[in-house]
């Protein structure tokens, strides 16, 4: 094998055309960074969202059908008001029956003004009304204990942090506390964005207190926690069949399905942005093709000499492929390293966290980017190398 000398010649040719080679490599670097960074961003987004939603992947959420015949029109809407469409107690009982033995949790929901201490400004926050017996099935506490009394409430972790609320703090609900004052008994563990109840910036009161304070008997949604995830679709179907048999009165959402759809959408977005990165790598590949063609044209005579003194076609071909490969490997590896920086910067800016950067599913994007970069360079080197190898030695020797 004489590959060594041809590899050496390829290396030296790159070295003597350092500027040209560096510019071609720069294209590869940019392409690899684009692909890998976009892949890292997409993966980080999926991980961030899946972490936020991980607690709600086992639920079926039933809400009043929007746009159809409603069972009731509650009061108002807006601050201190209930939503206009609700689920009646009778509907809830049907849901509970068809979804048994799974737990059906009725949820009341509104938002209202509240004051956290004498002289403090009013704030507006979401308020959930839950049956005290259901709360442990839905929410975990970070601090304190579950509330069973109508004089108490739970607060979300972000709410507590933002407003310096501790277990034992008092919160006056309503304008000038007209709905009453509740004592905080516990702080709810962070749940992130959720389909059922998003309690991080909210307070949770008893259903009875909620009903009395806002004059509500119907529910805004019902959450069914499904024990066996394989049954989630069956539970959804059973509820729809029972409640929507004559008219569509509720919308039933299978959170697992929704999450799957969401992740599919994220996957598509990631693929799309990565493909845009891929286009930049293709453009870089064209520049590799261009400089390889220049290299062949400049070295036609040299190729003729090589062929005339006994170099085989495939040896000449490999000399140029080595050149493309060196550009590809060096450019892609530099791009791979810089992708970490790019991924860090993009994750910091767009997700405010870099904790998903070094997980294997993110790192693999760098491997993909580097591999794709090398393959693109090799592919773009094939035609010039083939052309060089198939030059007629006599014509090549005559070339000036």
């Amino acid at each position: 094998m004489s590959g060594g000398i041809f590899f050496e010649i390829a290396k030296r040719n790159i070295r003597i055309h350092m500027l040209r080679s560096s510019l071609a490599m720069l294209g590869i670097i940019i392409g690899v960074v684009a692909i890998a960074s976009m892949g890292i961003l997409g993966n980080s987004m999926v991980l961030a969202v899946s972490e936020s939603l991980r607690t709600v992947g086992d639920s079926v959420i039933i809400t009043p059908h929007v746009g159809g015949s409603a069972h009731g029109f509650g009061g108002g809407g807006g601050i201190g008001g209930a939503s206009s469409l609700t689920i009646t107690e009778q509907d809830f009982l049907q849901i509970k029956r068809v979804s048994a033995p799974n737990i059906a949790i009725p949820v009341l929901q509104t938002s209202d003004r509240m004051k956290l201490g004498v002289g403090s400004d009013d704030i507006v926050a979401a308020i959930y009304g839950l049956n005290p017996d259901d709360v442990p099935d839905l929410l975990n506490l970070k601090e304190g204990g579950y509330n069973r009394a109508n004089s108490g409430c739970l607060v979300g972790s972000k709410f507590a942090e933002d407003h310096n609320v501790k277990v034992g703090s008092r919160i006056a609900i309503g304008t000038d506390g007209d709905k009453g004052t509740l004592r905080v008994t516990g702080i709810i563990e962070e749940r992130g964005m959720a389909f059922d109840v998003s309690t991080d910036s909210a307070i949770v009161v008893t259903r009875d207190w909620f009903g009395g304070a806002y004059n509500r008997n119907d529910y805004d949604k019902v959450v069914v926690k499904v024990k066996n995830l394989d049954e989630i679709a069956d539970v959804k179907t059973a509820i729809e069949k029972q409640l929507n048999r004559r008219d569509t009165i509720v919308d039933v959402m299978d959170t697992r399905k929704t999450m799957e759809t969401l992740f599919t959408a994220f996957g598509q977005i990631t693929t799309f942005v990565t493909a845009i990165g891929g286009i930049s790598l293709l453009v870089a590949g064209v520049s590799i093709l261009n400089i390889m063609m220049m290299s062949v044209t400049e070295r036609i005579k040299e190729i003729g000499i090589m062929r005339s003194i006994g170099a085989q076609k495939q040896e000449v071909m490999w000399m140029f492929l080595y050149e493309a490969l060196i550009l590809g490997v060096v450019g892609s590896l530099i791009g791979g390293v810089l992708s970490l920086v790019g991924g860090y910067a993009i994750s910091s800016m767009m997700l405010n966290t870099t904790k998903y950067l070094f997980v294997p599913s993110s790192m693999v994007n760098i491997v993909y980017g580097v591999t794709f970069g090398i393959i693109i360079c090799l592919i773009c080197g094939i035609y010039p190398a083939w052309r060089a190898a198939n030059l007629n030695p006599i014509d090549a020797l005559r070339h000036e």
Partner: protein, 239 residues
Amino acid sequence: MVPLPETEQKVTAIMDDQPVMVFRDVVKIYPLPAGDVTALDRVSFQVDRGEFISVMGPSGSGKSTLLNLMGCLDTPTAGDIYISGTRIGDMSDEELTNIRRDRIGFTFQHFNLFPLLNVIENVTFSLMLRAGKDVGTKRAKEVLRSVQLEEHLYTHTPTELSGGQQQRVAIARALINDPDILLCDEPTGNLDSKTGTGIMELMTELNRKGTTIIMVTHDQNIASYSNRTIRISDGRIVA
């Protein structure tokens, strides 16, 4: 050597221990849009081992075509060419390349050294083609000494050498695989007369030691170093 087909071996077997090169009724026609051009017309000659032959002729006489055929860079339209008993007419590109690598040494008017390689690497290039990268420098140094190139120049690149020195390196490169024939295309065409004389004395010395040399030249003085001259005109050997 690449093993030849059985039928070819029969042909070459008869020619074994025969002349280093034989042209028998060789015709070379270039098909062109304006009509076929006959560059060589029934050319026959033979070169014995140890001969020093010059090929002379005016421009367009067919010298380059003859050189290309002798160097196995091209194949004849008709007729037979034998290199050390091996008929090259039906050989594949790979086989012809192996013949060029193992049996023929080339030198050119413009030296044609590889600019990216130093003297030693240029000389060992052909050896590397045959044996791989790690061929060592012993053989190259031997050959470079035989072409009288100073040792301190071995690590220089071609651009750092004079024309005469470059031609000596080119001759060393051509000799490294111990070829049957050294083909020289205007070996002094790019050198001043004093340096050219030095090169010709070197070639005479190489020939005296047994190297078969075929040299294409325009220069009658240079041709006088050879012991036989083939004159070609209009594609035919005239003397």
